[in-house]
Subunit: 215 residues, 2 copies
Amino acid sequence: MMRFMGYFRSSSSYRCRIAFNLKGLEYDFESVHLKSGQQKAAGFAAVNPQKLLPVLITEDGQELYQSLAIIEWLDETYPDVPLLPGDKDLRAQVRAFAQVIACEVHPLQNLRVLQYLRADLRLDEDQVQAWLSRWLGEGLQACEDILQKRGGGSAFCFGEEPGLADLCLVPQIFSAQRFGVDISDLTRLNEIYDTCAALPAFAKAHPAQQPDFEK
Amino acid sequence: MMRFMGYFRSSSSYRCRIAFNLKGLEYDFESVHLKSGQQKAAGFAAVNPQKLLPVLITEDGQELYQSLAIIEWLDETYPDVPLLPGDKDLRAQVRAFAQVIACEVHPLQNLRVLQYLRADLRLDEDQVQAWLSRWLGEGLQACEDILQKRGGGSAFCFGEEPGLADLCLVPQIFSAQRFGVDISDLTRLNEIYDTCAALPAFAKAHPAQQPDFEK
């Protein structure tokens, strides 16, 4: 069976969990406690030199990391319930949307950056909050604008089935909520979030449903 | 002909230029002056709601953005001189390596973040330098460790032909040099950088060779 190393609150782990669930794939879960720094231990670094989550150990022992690369690998290896569209032009749109979140929003709010802001730069909580509001706000506004420009009003970001864009969006909105960033005016994103949240594949992947969940 | 909107110093534009060159593809170039904020103008935002470079306008008028999505689209549309390996397991490794740079290193050193550090957080230049050294140093060390773990000593990151990993790596090393981050001990990366720099496709894509280059 595949082995998945993640953490309940890591949004890149959350993306992968939704992908597993949408495809109905089982995996052994190993929690790596990010907040206490388990990802920096020598044993974990031997698996992923980048010392970040998530990691997928495939059935034949390959060590894969970076959530978007893992998800594309899952999609190519288990093509039932595709997460990327078959049309290459639409696929480029979906990948771009996922990358807006993975390359422009999430990197600025992940744990190691917030730790640096607080411990190294000694920012106070108002400054950290302003940082979060700026990057999450701007990034999710871009996501809203992209979908508004696309138009249509499909159930999910890019059609009538959930896919890569949605499984990046939902964890990012969860983070915005957790950090108290107000995105109530992003109507299209909130609509899609609600649609996703009602699906078992998304609900089961929620941080609060994970075995390593902590308040 | 395709139209490419970029900026000489933008490393995500630089990645795409190498891809065009490796595939021998021609394009009309439109410079968008990042430093003076042209990407925030209404005309550009109508093309890319994310207000970031690069953008590719395809021959049939589609507007594509996010460099990795553009490069995968180019690879699928013009499959000669492939930039991603045919084997799905190796493809996952190559994508992950590209994402280490695109999702973990580059987002922390791009122009809008450095502007925020200086203008909003009022960091002094020593603090900005420490920020750059931390994230570029840590990220490129991870890239080195990944390739050292892989072993082999191929000419390029993942084999004997340049591809997606190399065209992300070279602009990131260029940035490290520009920002004065010392990576002289990352022997494998420097070796690959030198091999790439000697190829016309990489040399022609260098910021100093672009029509909008400024000292």
